[in-house]
C-alpha cells in the first residue's frame, strides 16, 4: 500500500507494492503540486498588495472645510485597490492585513495659514498632520503615515484642511498603501 509524506502528501511505494510507470507519474505529480504550493507563497511574498494614486491637477479647497483629496492617476496597483473611474478619492482593501498608509499634499494659497492632511479608514480619522499656523505662507507641503488593520472592503482616504485667506488649492496629492503584515 503506497504511503505519503506528512506535509505535502508526496506518494511513494512501499516494498511490497508494484512499482510501475503509474507509480512514478503519481510521485512526479505530487512533487509538482508541492512545488506549486511553495511557488504560490513565493508569489505572495514578492507581490504584497500595494497601490499608489496621485494627482498633479488643481483641487479647490474651501477655507476651513475638511475635503477628501481626489486623484486622477494610478501609479501602481497590484491588488485592485484603486478604481478611480468609480471612486477617485480612495484605496479599497481587497486582501485582509495590516497596511502602512501614506498621504501627502501640497497646498497653494494666498496666503496660507495652515494645511493639514488626515488619514481615514471607512470615514473615520486615525491620523492627522498639520503644518504652519501663521499667516504668510504661499505653499505648504504636509504628509502623514499610519498603520491600519483592514479587511476586504475597508477603504483609506486622505482629507485635507486648508486655512488662510483667498482661494486655496491642492496642487499635488498622493495616497499609497502597502500591506506590511498578513492577518
Amino acid at each position: 500500500m503506497p504511503e505519503s509524506t506528512p506535509i505535502y502528501g508526496i506518494t511513494y511505494p512501499c516494498a511490497t507494492d508494484v512499482i510501475d510507470a503509474a507509480a512514478f507519474q503519481t510521485f512526479a505529480n505530487d512533487v509538482d503540486s508541492a512545488i506549486a504550493t511553495v511557488n504560490a507563497v513565493s508569489t505572495d511574498a514578492l507581490n504584497r498588495p500595494a497601490a499608489r494614486i496621485i494627482n498633479f491637477g488643481m483641487q479647490a479647497l474651501v477655507n476651513g472645510a475638511s475635503t477628501a483629496a481626489i486623484y486622477d492617476t494610478e501609479v501602481f496597483d497590484n491588488d485592485g485597490m484603486a478604481n478611480l473611474g468609480v471612486s477617485n478619492d480612495r484605496l479599497t482593501v481587497q486582501t485582509a492585513g495590516t497596511y502602512l498608509v501614506m498621504g501627502n499634499t501640497r497646498i497653494d494659497g494666498a496666503p496660507i495659514q495652515s494645511a493639514s492632511v488626515g488619514l481615514f479608514k471607512n470615514g473615520t480619522i486615525n491620523y492627522r498632520a498639520k503644518e504652519g499656523d501663521a499667516t504668510g505662507f504661499l505653499q505648504i507641503l504636509v504628509g502623514i503615515a499610519g498603520v491600519f488593520d483592514a479587511v476586504p472592503g475597508d477603504f483609506f482616504q486622505a482629507f485635507l484642511i486648508y486655512r488662510g485667506g483667498g482661494a486655496g488649492n491642492a496642487t499635488f496629492t498622493e495616497l499609497s498603501a502597502r500591506m506590511v503584515n498578513r492577518p
Binding site: S4, I10, Y12, D17, G118, Y127, D149
Partner: protein
C-alpha cells in the same frame, strides 16, 4: 545510494535497484524537507510584524510642561495589532524587540488648546528610540541616558485653538542586541490655557521591515 552535490537529493547507485521503493521514499522526504524550509522562510518574511498603540483622549496638559508617553503622559493602553517577528508587544510598552533589522516607527498626536492661545506658541512631538533605564530632564534626556534615534515634529507658530496635529517618524536599524523603548514626548508653551488631546489622540506604531539581506532596492 548516491546524493547530489547541492541539496543532497538521493539518486540510485548500481547496487540500489532492488530498493527502488526505499529510494522513492527517501527522495520524497528530502524534497519535502527542502520545500517546507523554503515555505517556512517565505511565510516568516510575509509575517514580519507590526504593532500599534493608541491612547485615550482627552488628557489635559498644563502649559509649559514636558510630558512623556507613556509614563508621564498617558498610557498607550490599546494594542490594536500584534504581528510576528518578535513584536508580541504588551500594553503600555512600545518597544523594539531584540531582533536585528530595519524598523519603521511613527507617532501622531492631536493637541488642542482649551481656551486662549498664546501668539506664536510652540507645539512639539519628539519620538525617540532609547536604551533601557532612560530618564528625562524636561524635554531632554538626563545624564547617562542614551538616545539612539530622535524624530521631531513641531509647529512653532501656533495661533489658533483649531488643533495642532503632529506626526514624527522614520526608519531605524536595530542591532537586535537588546530591547529598545520607543518614547513619544509632547511639549507646548501655550501659557494662555491648557492643551488637551482630542481624537485622533495619540498613536505609536512600529513596523518591522526585515533584516538587511531582505531589503532590496528596486528601480
Amino acid at each position: 545510494m548516491r546524493y547530489t552535490d547541492i541539496h543532497d537529493i538521493p539518486c540510485l547507485g548500481d547496487e540500489d535497484y532492488p530498493a527502488v521503493a526505499l529510494y522513492m521514499q527517501e527522495l520524497a522526504l528530502r524534497i519535502e524537507a527542502d520545500l517546507d524550509a523554503q515555505q517556512t522562510a517565505l511565510e516568516t518574511f510575509l509575517d514580519t510584524g507590526s504593532a500599534i498603540w493608541a491612547a485615550p483622549a482627552p488628557t489635559n496638559i498644563p502649559n509649559g510642561v514636558t510630558l512623556g508617553l507613556p509614563d508621564r503622559f498617558y498610557v498607550l493602553n490599546i494594542v490594536q495589532n500584534v504581528g510576528g517577528a518578535g513584536l508580541d508587544q504588551t500594553p503600555f510598552d512600545p518597544t523594539l524587540p531584540a531582533l536585528r533589522g530595519w524598523y519603521y516607527v511613527g507617532a501622531n498626536v492631536n493637541l488642542v488648546a482649551t481656551g486662549a492661545v498664546t501668539a506664536n506658541s510652540r507645539r512639539l512631538l519628539r519620538l525617540r528610540i532609547t536604551t533601557l533605564g532612560l530618564s528625562f530632564t524636561g524635554l531632554d534626556l538626563a545624564p547617562g541616558s542614551q538616545s539612539l534615534a530622535t524624530f521631531d515634529s513641531q509647529i512653532v507658530t501656533a495661533n489658533t485653538a483649531l488643533g495642532d496635529n503632529l506626526w514624527a517618524g522614520g526608519t531605524y536599524f536595530s542591532d537586535g542586541l537588546g530591547v529598545y523603548p520607543v518614547h513619544a514626548t509632547v511639549f507646548h508653551d501655550n501659557t494662555s490655557s491648557l492643551d488637551t488631546t482630542l481624537l485622533p489622540a495619540a498613536r505609536i506604531w512600529i513596523v518591522y521591515m526585515g533584516d538587511s539581506p531582505d531589503i532590496r532596492e528596486v528601480a
